[in-house]
Amino acid sequence: MKKTVALTLVLLLCLTSLLTTTVAFADSAKTRLNVITAGGGFWETPMAAVEQAYEASHPDVDLNIEIYGYEQLFQVIEVKLAAQSDEYDVIAVDCPLVAAYTERGYIVPLDDSFTKDEQDQFIGASLKASIWKDKFMAAPMETSANLMFYNKTLLKDAGIDFAPEDPFYQPTWEELADMSKRVIETNDPDGSKGIFGISFEQVSRPYTILPLANTLGEKGIGDDGFTVDGVLNTEGWVKALTFYGDLFKDKVSLRGIKSEEFSPLFFAGKALFHQGGPWNIYSLAAQDAFEYGMLISPTFKGHEDTTASATGSWHLGISAFGKNQQLAAEFIKWMTMGEGHEVWICESHDVPALKADMEKIVNDPNADLVYKMSVYSALNTGYPRPVTPAYSEFETVTSAAFEDVRNGADPKQALDDAVMQLNTLFKKYK
């Protein structure tokens, strides 16, 4: 009896092992495609939809998407790809970093997978950001546009009549600052309610600040990709940063608040304006604390003809060290202009980078207003960030300078210090 029981148990164990091994072998018969991307905290759901759609149409591929927070992604990519790790096949590339990743040897060209006609299907700003030294290096997954949301309830409470009928009404920064001061004075004179004027979703980052100077006719960096003296510390830049610094000095916006803390404050009804993007619309629609409105990106008074707005977003590139480069190229094409692109735009609610998609939105009378306004901004005022292999250095140093101005530093001094630092850091490229 004992022997029978023992034998039965052993047989069961063998069967289980055999079954598990068979399943494991069956799984390992699939090719694993590893993707690393940003979007920690908000892209989990749309990326899961992408995974599902891709694996449904590619049953022999096991798609694995790793999602990281914005800052963490850059560090992980640096650590892994600097060590030439083959852990990832596809990497998300922030559009201003295409040149940098190409120079560092992290990504390989996509020219064999995307014909010139296919490349031309992307909007101009996104295509320009995809190309470095005449090679198409990373395909745009989407683009972006800034929108200025505003709290109608706070305006009503302050007795301010501001309700532009034209959805493409161009506000000015001066107008927004003035309304902010009036709302604060009326609705929260002693500051006890914590109400303030303008909330910045990407406070002190080049994405937010560059358009201020670009609107005044200034660039971020010279055409050679490295000249900053006489480009970054011009009178126009001082004017733009003086305006920015005054917003915080006059308590129109707040110091000591991180980028990710601003959105919740606006959604809680604490801010009059919020500079965000179409991705905010679902959080706004879900709240019932206040009535909201939308505006396209503001300009400066007298500079309506040179209005610049933030644009550009995430691209996808093939890791130079990945084992499945052909499969990676096919995935990138699927994700940027195939079925995956439709799934992505539908699930993420981000702005497409394809001309055809943008035209559809412009011509569709039933398209959501938030997308019409975003596409309008991207097509008419979108000003791409500088193309330079030194963008990491540029972003780090200028972000610190913009944050210093936010905290009260003299704009000219901050810009001159930034120029000095960048000139030192750029030496290694010469």
């Binding site: 560090q75 914590g194 000591g256 608040i257 250095e393 944050e403 850091l425």
Partner: protein
């Protein structure tokens, strides 16, 4: 046979510490040696160019000054506070164990959490500290958004977090001092101050030396608050060498610059520690005389 057994027994202690030694070699000494070696490579060639480059780099000199300034103030303050707390909790009073626990509690919180919580408390808009200051009539302070206050806010966080830890080492040192010495001093009519100066402090030297060296090293390597809340600002006022080296390696992808900076920091730590050993070490053992009997 017995002789063979005795010979084998001599190897047992080395066998026991071998795993720890291998780990230290692999994860501490190995990376240090690799970093120092890499700092002397410039574009693949053996060279001191990396050091010449950082010598001409105003950001490096600023970060060196900020590191030095931070340690010059923070380390002595922490040691004095730890000593004061150790002397207090060494008294035999009812409930002293509760005080020891409370003083030690911040040590049990990770630096990450401590930094985040203090960051919230020091928020210039709605932080707890400004709330308390406002209640007692002191104007709202900018704290971490001020280039004059940010570094000392970081020093406060580091001190709040670490002083309990150093206190425990000094407390252990105090409790190792023979109680009869204090009895004898009392009989001779020595007051608290005289007892502390002539008995406590000299006999506490070994513990003080350890705490001084370890605390100095920890403060020279301070990184978490700069990474998490100040980002080296405002106006580079908290941009210590560790943070500048981090930016160099992980943001600017300039490993050579980063390696050169941490090697300079390593040399600085070595010099400071050697000076501390020389100043506070056992002079008798060094054959330079000292306290006799």
């Amino acid at each position: 046979m017995g002789e063979i057994f005795q010979k084998r027994k001599r190897w047992i202690p080395f066998l026991c510490i071998a795993p720890a030694f291998v780990m230290i070699l692999l994860f501490k000494l190995g990376p240090i040696a690799s970093t120092v070696a890499e700092s002397f490579l410039h574009r693949g060639q053996l060279s001191v160019q990396n050091y010449l480059n950082i010598g001409e780099d105003p950001m490096f000199w600023n970060s060196l000054w900020v590191t030095f300034k931070f340690n010059l103030v923070t380390t002595p303050v922490q040691i004095l506070l730890a000593l004061g707390m150790a002397l207090l909790v060494n008294e035999k009073v009812r409930g002293v164990a509760l005080f020891r626990t409370v003083y030690y509690l911040p040590v049990t919180i990770s630096m990450t959490i401590a930094t985040l919580v203090w960051g919230l408390m020091l928020n210039p808009n709605n932080g707890l500290v400004n709330g308390i200051l406002a209640a007692i009539g002191i104007p709202v302070q900018p704290f971490l958004t001020s280039n004059n206050q940010a570094l000392w806010c970081v020093a406060t966080i580091a001190t709040w977090k670490g002083v309990g830890f150093w206190m425990m080492f000094l407390l252990a040192g105090l409790q190792n001092i023979n109680a009869e010495l204090y009895e004898a001093a009392r009989v001779d009519g020595a007051n608290w101050l005289r007892t502390t100066a002539s008995i406590t402090l000299p006999l506490l030297k070994p513990s003080m030396l350890y705490v001084t060296v370890a605390d100095t090293t920890a403060n020279l390597l301070m990184f978490a608050p700069m990474y998490m809340i100040t980002k080296g600002g405002p106006m580079s006022s908290t941009n210590v060498i560790m943070y500048e080296a981090y930016k160099s390696t992980f943001l600017y992808v300039d490993r050579e610059r980063g390696m050169a900076m941490v090697t300079v920091l390593l040399a600085l730590i070595a010099v400071v520690v050697i000076l501390q050993f020389w100043a506070m070490g056992d002079r008798e053992r060094r054959g330079k005389g000292g306290v006799r009997g």
